[in-house]
Symmetry: C2
Subunit: 720 residues, 2 copies
């Protein structure tokens, strides 16, 4: 056995060389276990496999299990078909329905601990034979359990004395694709849309299945196929037929499809002269359309809607409220169990209003007016997916409305796919923010878990960063952000570092010499990005078009960066306290007090909430100007530190992935310097203060930095 | 050794299961040799490796060799660094420069048999030790030799007594990408552009290297990066810098990059008020621009131009000829050795002119007026990449002009990436057509090989079918068309069936049970396509927008299919004889006579050259109508036969690739029926004759077939 293992390991290495590491396999690599004793202990748990399959979902679970075991253990277990054949070292998986004998085991009563989608993984004895059981109340629970079980081996955990019971804490775990029907992806930086509309529904690209596998492995159960800046034709019959092809692929993996609904669809494709929610013909059109959809896609999830924002049509066009608009669709979907996600990201480029306060002002008064199957979906913060924002004040402020939260996984404002920025820490920061809505401990995560309600509406949505690139996400570390989002949608109270460790072990290696430097890079990366782009609460000073690179100097009637930094010779920052726009008032005390009071406001939000003179003394004792300089320089230094840490991995991981990340880190360093020098030279025009001489001085003039062409961005539409 | 081999084979199979067969590796799969004695004989030829590397091209050659040997033989050869270490079974590769000792071998004098890019592969003895030598006059010759050498093993040929000398017969072996700068690909059906312009030049996707490897393996040495429907900005400095990043990747693989040049660029990006070739400022602008390009890309290849065609600007806008326009660019490129490819595909949608005659009429009078570094580039036939066309009459008619030929590899008019159509036979048909320009045997291939000229200008260009799809070409069999084009650009006299056999062996298997049915499918596939879409010389009756699916009924002022079939109650076909448009006169005798005379015109071109009554008697004795019906039905039956042949491969090849092709063949059958029934029901309105009762009758009405929505096509621009 031993010689064989060694030969095997050699072979694997050789074959790796022939098939380059391009990242396609994501975290589902199932690479051979090299540690011989660990391998042996794992093999002993898989002498036989007992997984009766009575549904497509169970088939998918069994297939994944076989794939994983072959890859990890290079071992094909004997398959058995009945309890009589049970032997020591059998792995059993199923539900009380697929495995009636389960009712006679000690595991059966534990199923009560699970929700519908949860699973158990338990070591057990049946007739004195040691077995392992993956059990769930539903088929999809079994699939989730299988992925978790394989993860235990991928991360080299012991399979002895297992007793895991896990259920998702949120019911709707959504990816909102911003894919246009022409195949481009708005704010996508990893190629083009995965959906090949020309060939659908007749040809189903095998990549769709891999996408479903990856998503199921992290618990995603809903995918919105198309962009919130919607085209009405996505609801036309021929397009619905195409969408049904994707639904067919995703169904076994527990994933429902959703579509965005353009509010003007009854006019655009329905032949009506209005989309007025109060018009009976409009109501009937939506009912008929929904009926048609469910005829084609019996488990259709529902609609996501962006209305009356950035020029999109909506109910306000007819003097109706957002609630009336959302309920129009909700009522049509209700008979079929469908759901509406109604975005709270609404603004119309009105310069006299502080954009930070609009979402709250518009939606808070509507609390309680939305139908039972309608989510209001704010973004994580009140502006627009900035590198750091305080949590959106609607969380904790609409107790009688189910709230979904929208995170952005694609790095629109975080360096696109060119920068290594682990977003797990950003997600955790928002989710663990305490709203105090119901006293201390009412974190955003708790609000999302919907502690106020009983009808089980809870959701987290993410705008994915995937595309046709071979590695799915453009930057290999973009995979970590997709992974982290999925894990948090399953359990929003997980720690970002724990998630990162899982991902690194599955993606690279469990070895400390690999794990440790990568985890350090990931944990520092988001703060580095904030430091070299928009520290101390600065925001929205990125390039107008691409949202990458600095443009604090942008100044035109449609969008001026000056509204966001308000820099003058005296001061910088926006007064959003009670003396200013009053955005602080949208938070419950003591959050309100903390943000409103300059003495307690965290410096990370300083210029978000306060307008301060250049000589304002920071906690460090330094002036605001010098502190700002420190942050920008620190950011660049942190990228360099990330490069040094990465360089230690040379020879410890495969060359392809090493070089990919090393090249991109170099690229990131250049852009970090561009940000730092561009911003500081711009602000310096106002502050009139020097960059302290201990720092490397900008190599070029402000004019030079202003003339750098922004990297080409392939999508025509830039709002969001 | 034997046991080890068996274990190895098992391992490989298992690992295959973990990493699905998605086609990414193309024909460079380097799969382990399973036959133990063959493996053993191959290993004995690689006891040691002697490949000194003194250039990036030799490094690429050595790397490929190592990759191939590891994959095929699972064996790492000992590397040696000098002639002294030479041992029995050494593989040697290099040029007289990289391997000075080569001059003392019997191989050296054979180098004279090669052109600059050629190679030798020879078994030899050096100091009584049996060795194998891959030798060439240049580094790129070595790389080509390495690919050929690996191919010998991939196709399981003997390595004993080798004596191969091979040089390309054409100097410029080009792929003309129709990639738009926004990432879409005009008439591309395999995803989007491979070029990630946002990240270039800083990040060079490893896929670019794989693309270069694949192209070098088939001899491609020039790539036009962007669409002939050009954007002037591709010549702007920032875009040139991006292009230089691709040039850097391709350079070691012997591939030069070219750009399309928009004739109006001096106006659009040059700040001039004219693009008149006679204006000195315009001449100077092009000279300056070319100088700038060579500063960034020292081995830049040159320009490809589509001018005064389908609305593109050109010299005729200023009363100048195509020659004057082409020479303007030629003169600017001349000092640097750059080349112009000037397309002869010119037409302006003038309905009173037979489109078939325009290219010849426009260009033939210009013969001899083009500069020495200018190619005139007609398409293979006189219309526009139809499933079957007679060769373009310019071949053989411009003895004093270097002619390049443009084939289309992407299946714009051959079912997109949805249909299995092997184009090798189409290419061969055109290349082996006898023009009789200089007596019998003056084939198009000979014309391309430029027998008239001494200055060595010879070229073949293909519009590739590649994109971001995992398998590169959408349909796995699209890879064969790319492969075949490359092989024919190296040697235009190769046989399509030989090329197909190479490809199948490298891509699937050398086993007869696999090889034989696939070769049968490939060899019948193009005629099947012609039969079920446009038999008997019919052409250009496809859908107006997508160029897929039947639309003989299309009829509007811009484009009417009626110009191409001219169907009436009495007759069908276009009279292009001397009694008609006189297109036959553009061919030399006896080709002219053969086409002009109804009795000798091949039936495959019947309705291309002749207009005939429905009761015209075909050679079979059947009426024209019944013969037409036969062809359409035969085409569908041939697709069904292809399906049956493919089904025999179940279990003999991997499941992924089996299913991929099986699904697409089903799709192809549906579309073949759509074509057949749509066309026959349409023509039947005029012929008034029945579809003979032995045939399955159309399942639907003409109206139904006319209402089928054309499959979604993602690119906005449809001219070409």
């Amino acid at each position: 056995m031993k010689t064989r293992s060694i030969v095997f390991v050699i072979m694997c290495c050789l074959i790796q060389l022939v098939r380059a590491e391009n990242g396609y396999e994501l975290w589902l690599r199932y690479q051979p276990i090299e540690d011989a004793s660990l391998l042996d202990s794992y093999r002993q748990k898989h002498i036989a496999l007992f997984v009766p399959v009575s549904s497509d979902t169970l088939k998918a679970a069994k297939k994944e299990l076989q794939l994983g075991l072959r890859g990890l253990l290079n071992y094909s277990s004997q398959e058995i078909a009945s309890w009589n054949e049970l032997k020591e070292g059998t792995l059993i998986a199923g539900t009380p329905r697929s495995l009636p004998g389960l009712k006679d085991t000690d595991v059966y009563r534990k199923l009560d601990r699970l929700t519908e989608e949860g699973y158990l993984i338990a070591s057990s004895h049946i007739e004195k034979k040691a077995v392992t059981i993956i059990a769930a109340r539903t088929d999809i629970g079994v699939l989730y359990g299988v992925f978790r079980y394989l993860q235990l081996m991928q991360t080299h955990q012991s399979l002895a004395h297992l007793d895991i019971a896990d259920s998702p804490k949120l019911k709707y775990r959504m990816l909102n694709h911003w894919d246009n029907l022409n195949g481009t992806v708005e704010r996508g930086y990893a190629g083009y849309s995965l959906w090949n509309w020309e060939r659908l529904p007749r040809y189903k690209d095998p990549r769709y299945t891999d996408y479903a596998r990856a998503n199921a492995s992290i618990g995603i159960n809903g995918i919105v196929l198309n962009n919130v800046n919607a085209e009405a034709k996505s609801l036309r019959t021929d397009w619905l037929v195409k969408a049904s092809g994707l639904a067919d692929v995703f169904r076994p993996y527990g994933i429902k499809i959703y579509l965005t609904a353009k509010f003007s669809a009854p006019k655009e494709i329905g032949g009506l002269d209005t989309a007025n929610p109060k018009d009976e013909r409009v109501r009937q059109w939506w009912k008929d359309k929904v009926k048609e959809i469910y005829g084609l896609i019996p488990d259709f999830g529902g609609f996501l809607v962006k209305a009356n924002s950035e020029g999109q049509p909506g109910p306000q066009d007819y003097g109706c409220s957002h609630a009336e608009g959302a309920n129009l669709l909700g009522e049509a979907l209700e008979p079929y169990g469908g759901i509406v996600f109604w975005r709270a990201f609404v603004y119309q480029n009105e310069r006299h209003v502080d954009r930070v306060v609009t979402g709250y002002n518009e939606f808070k008064p509507l609390d309680g007016q939305f139908g039972k199957n309608v989510f209001v979906q704010p973004k994580n913060g009140p502006i627009d997916f900035q590198p750091r924002e305080p949590f959106h004040p609607l969380f904790g402020s609409m107790p009688d409305t189910p709230l979904a939260m929208e995170f952005q996984i694609t790095q629109e404002n975080l360096g696109h796919a060119g920068h290594l920025v682990y977003l797990g820490t950003l997600f955790e920061e928002t989710l663990q923010s305490d709203t105090y809505a119901n006293g201390k401990g009412t974190t955003v995560s708790k609000v999302l878990q919907n502690y106020q309600h009983t009808h089980g509406m809870s959701a987290l949505a993410g705008v994915p960063n995937v595309g046709t690139d071979l590695n799915w996400t453009g930057h290999l570390f973009g995979q970590a952000n997709w992974y982290a989002f999925g894990r948090l949608s399953w359990n929003p109270d997980m720690h970002a570092t724990d998630i990162a460790a899982e991902w690194v072990k599955m993606t690279f290696s469990t070895k400390q010499e690999v794990l440790e430097p990568i985890l350090r890079i990931m944990s520092m990366s988001r703060e580095a990005y904030v430091n070299y782009t928009m520290p101390l609460g600065l925001n929205h000073i990125m390039n107008y078009d691409t949202h990458n690179g600095p443009e604090p100097w942008h100044n035109d009637p449609v969008w001026t960066a000056f509204d966001y930094h308000k820099v003058t010779k005296d001061s910088i920052g926006v007064d959003r306290t009670m003396q200013g726009s009053g955005a602080t008032r949208q938070y419950h005390s003591p959050v309100f007090d903390k943000f409103d009071d300059l003495n307690t406001c965290p410096e990370s939000y300083l210029l978000w909430f306060h307008r301060l003179p250049w000589d304002y003394k920071l906690k460090s004792g330094k002036t605001l100007w010098n502190g700002l300089v420190d942050h920008y320089y620190k950011g660049v230094e942190e990228v360099r530190q990330m490069q040094r840490l990465w360089d230690t991995l040379k020879g410890k991981i495969d060359n392809e992935r090493f070089r990919h990340v090393a090249t991109l880190l170099k690229y990131q360093e250049q852009e970090a310097i561009w940000w730092r020098d561009g911003c500081l030279l711009f602000f310096q025009q106002y502050s009139g203060r020097p960059i302290p001489s201990q720092y490397e001085q900008p190599a070029h003039s402000l004019k030079y930095y202003q003339s750098i062409p922004f990297p080409y961005d392939w999508n025509g539409v830039y709002e969001h």
